[in-house]
């Protein structure tokens, strides 16, 4: 893929988005999480075993910012789960762009989960495959697919990765 337009400045801009995204989740600032996406978007968390054979079933699958908001409302007011915190570690991303406005980005991630008993565990490992676009001047996710290797989810998944 051509990478004609990728400048250090643009690279920094993309990296800022990736970092701000995980900080938002890890700081439990989840009401702001949908703002990282364009109004029409695709967010999915899909096991690698489905993705690699072309099966579409995902654990979370949202195709609008409204659906992302509904996930958070349910998490805050409907779903029952034990207290838990995420800590994301993300790799340096591989970024390609042709025009400086649309970016195809891939990065690895690890999510550690800590519950009330104080034990931190490796909860979910995978990679993000993103399409990032400029929306009113601001970079946002048009698509964010988290393809996870840890295909046996511990207990449940309520907080987005």
């Amino acid at each position: 893929m051509a990478n004609n337009a990728l400048t250090l400045e643009l690279k920094g801009e993309v990296e800022d988005l990736l970092n701000a995204y995980v900080q938002c989740i890890d700081d439990d600032n989840l009401e702001s999480w949908p703002d990282f996406f364009t109004e029409e978007c695709l967010y999915q968390v899909i096991p690698r075993e489905n993705h690699e054979v072309g099966l579409p079933t995902a654990v979370m699958w949202c195709d609008s910012r409204g659906m992302l908001q509904d996930r958070i409302t349910a998490l805050r007011h409907a779903n029952i789960y034990q207290v838990q915190w995420y800590r994301h570690i993300i790799s340096n991303p591989v970024i390609t762009t042709e025009d400086g406005d649309t970016f195809n980005v891939q990065s690895n991630y690890a999510v550690f989960k800590t519950c009330n008993d104080g034990e931190s565990t490796v909860y979910n490992i995978g990679r993000y495959v993103d399409v990032i676009v400029r929306d009113n001047g601001v970079l946002k996710f048009k698509e964010r697919t988290a393809i996870y290797d840890t295909h046996r989810i511990t207990t449940l998944m309520v907080i987005p990765v």
């Binding site: 968390v45 899909i46 096991p47 075993e49 489905n50 099966l55 579409p56 079933t57 995902a58 654990v59 979370m60 699958w61 949202c62 195709d63 609008s64 910012r65 409204g66 659906m67 908001q69 509904d70 996930r71 409302t73 349910a74 007011h77 409907a78 779903n79 029952i80 789960y81 034990q82 295909h151 046996r152 989810i153 511990t154 207990t155 449940l156 998944m157 309520v158």
Partner: protein, 417 residues
């Protein structure tokens, strides 16, 4: 209490099936007896869908209880299953979750003993020695050293296996109503849409109880209530067959295209209780695909399967015990082969409701762990299972624990407790 009941398992006298001692959920001896008497006993265990074994040579690795089992489609197009353990020295033969054996052979990597899809031993390297040295004894008979075989049945596209010769015919095992609802969902060829897996730190029977428990549905799972999506008109029934198999069904009457408008109207009526509303109602868009207008079916086939329809979501949930205090729940999601793209998309979006991240199902794993956490001691204490009386039977409503009483009635009989 029978002679075969472990002494620590103090089943209360005269309680019928309304009280179960907690030690049944966290005792190694009980767990081992279950593997022997239930999973190796006269039960049918869900193994796979036929759709996962599409062609000659297809295979899938799974379990009966905690025993590793491989399901295969042979060169004769028949389906077979065998314990995934080489007859030679006990090594695991098949190391992939699923795939296809081009030549129909299954070869242990350790000493390359080779088997066919039926589990019969076909090849033993150096059987006659090398250059006159070594080799197996002259009376070594390959026919005597096949894999441990599993009797299988293909019931309307689902493959079940049993180790016992005493297991009744699958439809007799299920019972009439369970068979009816099974066939209702599996009434035409299915298409697999994916798999998810959940690891839950609780005894598998807490989950069995959960799937026979309509009492908790509106109390634990608050998604519908929170968004004011509750339907007061829900009709339903809880049905028990042969004690430990069951069906819960409910009809919502909201699954056609006009459902969204109806729900919005409903929400107005319940606004005083619901301060939240869905930003994107398309989550609940769907189609009424069954003429009976039933929108929820939880079919629980003891000991290892739940077959479910929730709105347009269809899935097998396979319960795999992994020890006395943990189990894995494997979700296999499907639609029908003749689904239009529109219907398929309804299903994919509605999968947000079920599975490990399911907006209305994620709490089931949580509830299982809540119980397991609290019963580490006081194994002689019992729970209380008395909603809708003391009978181990179904009801024409959903405010009951009758199916759970049925579970324990059947369990005690089969376990000889």
């Amino acid at each position: 209490m029978n002679a075969t009941t472990p002494p620590h398992l103090k089943w209360p006298a005269n309680a019928d099936h309304t009280a179960v001692p907690y030690s049944v959920f966290n005792n190694q001896e009980v767990y081992d007896l279950e593997q022997a008497r239930l999973y190796n006993g006269p039960t049918w265990n869900y193994l796979a869908t036929e759709a996962e074994l599409p062609e000659k040579g297809s295979f899938k690795s799974t379990y009966i209880g905690d025993t590793p089992v491989v399901v295969t489609r042979g060169q004769d197009n028949e389906i077979y299953a065998w314990v995934n353990r080489c007859a030679h020295r006990g090594a695991e033969i098949c190391r992939e979750r699923h795939g296809r054996s081009e030549d129909g052979a299954y070869t242990c990597v350790y000493h390359q003993w080779s088997y066919d899809a039926k589990g019969d031993l076909r090849g033993v390297p150096f059987q006659r020695g090398l250059a006159g040295k070594g080799g197996m004894p002259k009376d070594f008979d390959k026919k005597q050293h096949g894999l441990r075989k599993v009797r299988v049945v293909n019931y309307h596209g689902a493959i079940f296996g049993t180790f016992s010769d005493d297991t009744p015919d699958i439809e007799d095992y299920m019972g009439e109503d369970v068979a009816y609802h099974f066939k209702r969902i599996m009434h035409k060829p299915i298409e697999i849409l994916g798999t998810t897996r959940q690891h839950i730190a609780g005894n598998w029977k807490f989950y069995s109880e959960n799937t026979k428990d309509p009492y908790h549905a509106s109390l634990l799972h608050l998604f519908h209530a929170t968004f004011g999506l509750y339907r007061s008109s829900q009709k339903g029934e809880s049905i028990s067959n042969n004690d430990f198999h069951s069906v819960l069904w409910a009809s919502g009457g909201t699954e056609d295209e006009s459902a969204l408008d109806d729900m919005k109207k409903d929400k107005l009526r319940t606004l005083q209780t619901g301060e939240y509303e869905l930003q994107d109602m398309s989550l609940l868009a769907g189609t009424q695909e069954f003429e009976d207008n039933v929108t929820l079916v939880i079919l629980s086939l003891f000991p290892s399967l739940v077959l479910q329809q929730i709105q347009n979501t269809l899935a097998f949930r396979q319960i795999l015990p992994k020890g006395k205090d943990e189990f894995e729940l494997v979700w296999t999601y499907f639609g029908y082969k003749d689904d239009s793209e529109e219907v398929r998309n309804y299903r994919l979006k509605q999968f947000n409701l079920i599975g490990p991240g399911g907006l209305i199902s994620m709490e089931d794993g949580e509830s299982t762990e809540l119980c397991q956490n609290a019963i580490v001691r006081d194994g002689e204490y019992t729970n209380v299972i008395q909603m809708a009386g003391k009978e181990a039977s179904g009801d024409d409503h959903l405010v009951t624990e009758g199916l759970i009483r049925g579970l324990w009635k059947g369990y005690k009989e089969l376990m000889d407790f």
